[in-house]
């Protein structure tokens, strides 16, 4: 099953599959062998590549809170329908600025091909830099901004075409 989550205004696709040999999770092209058990209603023990994590989670509707090592992550589960609605959150072929920010660096040029999960643009907001990634593989069709540009939330930055 594939889930899409919005976290800090970025969208992440997480694929979780289970077969006889166990569970494998794929995030942005990276595969993790995962083994998990529920300790109580809100606490999971997750072993990823022999590394042990104890992670608290709380789900209320589409909102999921995850607590790990002192940090709270507030995620929103995005349905495929919402994801494919172009514009609002950007389809897989559009890279949209998640919040008012400044374009720090363009990592790709028009015509470049990108892998799913590859970083395309670096933006800065609230003194923090974030990398915006391609949600699916493709070729850069248009780059609508330049380095140094200040952009509003939900501005279309880059358009890709499918390969």
């Amino acid at each position: 099953m594939t889930y899409s989550f919005k976290l800090d205004n970025q969208i992440y696709k997480v694929n979780i599959e289970e077969d006889d040999s166990g569970v494998v999770v794929e995030i942005s092209g990276e595969e993790y062998p995962v083994e998990y058990t529920k300790l109580d209603d809100n606490l999971y023990s997750i072993i990823i590549n022999d590394k042990s994590f104890t992670i608290g989670t709380f789900k209320q509707g589409k909102q999921i809170q995850v607590f790990h090592a002192g940090n709270l992550y507030e995620l929103e589960a995005i349905s495929d329908r919402e994801l494919s609605k172009s514009g609002a959150m950007g389809s897989g072929l559009e890279i949209i600025s998640p919040m008012p920010s400044r374009v720090v660096k363009l990592l790709k040029s028009e015509g470049d091909t990108v892998e799913e999960g590859e970083s395309v643009v670096v933006v800065e907001a609230m003194k923090m830099e974030s990398e915006l990634k391609a949600l699916q593989a493709g070729t850069i069709k248009t780059i609508k901004v330049s380095e140094g540009d200040a952009v509003e939330a939900k501005t279309l930055l880059v358009v890709l075409t499918e390969e």
Partner: protein, 499 residues
């Protein structure tokens, strides 16, 4: 021996006091507002009485209601905790009048130390050092003479001032006249009064305080110092004992000074003398808190003295059985205040329901809290969730234990400063105890996680989705076989990770 004690407070300090009472064999009476019916202090006490609406002014601060419950329940004494009525001399007086023991100093001592000007005067008489300055408003000529005498840098402050208005830092002589003129003009336009005073500016000050314990028979002891230099918005966040900075000589001098000022007001019970300290170990009196303090646990951890129990015993008339030379510092203790707040948003409070809480445990870990899974943090009271305290043979041991303990904490439902505290504990200057009250402002990089480990979080989110009960099951035919398999696993065999 008191048979029954009323605790006129709420939250973790009420819980702390209730536990101390139980260990002394006294029954406990809790009071609670509408917002606190589900608070832990109500659950832990032997008796509980409702005293009104959530607003403190209509419940916890209403002296008459507290007295009424004390009489109704037959409590012989009242422990006020901190905040609320703890430094209210007229409440202490009312208790006395009603024949109920107020567990704390005399109304007179509270009154004397509660007024800043009186307190300064008493300190001066007791030869306790104050920040050098003009001791009140001065003329321009006097101001110049004072500045010359105390040495630069100096602060010029508006007498009527506040909020930084009419305040000027003067680093050298040449700037003085000009700065004085600007400060006065600003003071005049802000407060309609251009009088100013001059004080030495303490660079990179440390906040160091001395814990006092005094019985009703004239014995006054100090339980060494606490350093509370890590502050945000003038509120302490991390405290420790002992201070890693003090020399043994300064420690002794500060202890003696604190005892002197306590004796000057015939102090009894637990109290704290707060000092500001410069980078040369010069210390100056700030104020005396005539009650138990939030950060008292670090002192308990290094001395083995239960401060809250001794407050009660002192109120019962018991003599302190130990003398100053019996008291020793044993190891090192740290306290982190865990708040429902968002450090990345200027420490904005984050009230809400704590959907889930898992507190750390283990040797040398003490968690003074009153939260639990399902507890609601309201905006009526301070958003402190817990005081996490660790003890170690050395500061480094206590510090590593604190990192491990903070990392074990799990809180869902509200934003907390736990990640921030972990980053402070890992930060180099803090590790070297190079700290002062400007520490947090100097380290904005600690306010948010630079490169959060998001992949485990995303995996946990995906796992949670797999286990979630389908939100609706309204017969639209969308339930897949996979959904049902997942639901079955969740309900029946979730403990076996292999299927």
């Amino acid at each position: 021996m008191f048979e029954k004690i009323l605790i006129a407070n709420r939250g973790e300090i009420a819980v702390r006091i209730i536990r101390a009472c139980k260990e002394l064999g006294a029954k406990t009476v809790a009071v609670y507002s509408d917002a606190d019916r589900s608070s832990l202090h109500v659950a832990l006490a032997d008796e509980a009485y409702h005293i009104g609406p959530p607003k403190p002014a209509e419940s916890y601060l209403v002296k008459e209601k507290i007295i009424e419950v004390a009489k109704k329940s037959g409590a012989q004494a009242i422990h006020p905790g901190f905040g609320f009525l703890s430094e209210n001399d007229s409440f202490a007086e009312l208790c006395e009048k009603e024949g109920i023991v107020f567990i704390g100093p005399t109304p007179e001592a509270i009154r004397l130390m509660g007024d800043k000007i009186t307190a300064r005067k008493i300190a001066k008489e007791a030869k306790v050092p104050l920040v050098p300055g003009s001791d009140g408003a001065v003329t321009d000529v006097e101001a110049a003479m004072v500045a010359e005498k105390i040495g630069y840098p100096v602060m010029i402050k508006a007498s009527a001032g506040g909020g930084g208005k009419g305040m000027r830092l003067v680093r050298d002589k040449e700037e003085f006249e000009n700065s004085l003129r600007m400060a006065k003009s600003e003071a005049l336009s802000s407060f309609g009064d251009d009088s100013v005073f001059v004080e030495r500016f303490i660079e990179q000050p440390r906040h160091i305080e001395i814990q006092i314990l005094a019985d009703s028979h004239g014995k006054v002891l100090h339980l060494f110092e606490r350093e509370c230099s890590i502050q945000r918005r003038h509120q302490k966040v991390v405290e420790e004992a002992p201070s890693a900075y003090l020399t043994e000589k300064t420690r002794k001098k500060m202890g003696d000074t604190a005892v002197r000022i306590a004796k000057a007001v015939n102090y009894q019970g637990a109290g704290t003398v707060e000092f500001i300290m410069d980078q040369k170990q010069n210390f100056f009196f700030l104020e005396m808190n005539t009650r138990v303090q939030v950060e008292h646990p670090v002192t308990e951890m290094i001395t083995g003295i239960d401060i809250v129990k001794w407050m009660i015993r002192i109120a019962e008339g018991e003599k302190l059985p130990f003398k100053q030379s019996d008291l020793k510092i044993n190891g090192h203790a740290l306290e982190c205040r865990v708040y429902a707040e968002d450090p990345a948003m200027n420490f904005m409070p984050s009230p809400g329901i704590l959907h889930y809480v898992k507190a750390p445990t283990g040797p040398g870990v003490r968690d003074d809290s009153s939260i639990y899974s399902g507890y609601e943090v309201t905006s009526f009271y301070d958003p402190m969730l817990s005081k996490l305290i660790t003890w170690g043979e050395t500061r480094e041991d206590a510090l590593k234990k604190m990192v491990a303990a903070l990392s074990e904490y799990v809180v869902l439902g509200v934003r907390t400063n736990i990640g921030f505290l972990i980053r402070v504990m890992d930060e180099e200057e803090f590790n070297q105890a190079k700290i002062d009250t400007g520490y947090i402002e100097r380290h904005p990089e600690l306010l948010s996680e630079e490169s959060p480990e998001i992949d485990p979080a995303l995996i946990a989110a995906a796992v949670t989705m797999e286990h979630a009960v389908p939100e609706t099951n309204n017969g639209n035919g969308k339930s897949t076989a996979s959904n049902w398999k997942l639901l079955a696993r969740r309900l029946g065999v979730s403990r076996n990770p292999l299927i």
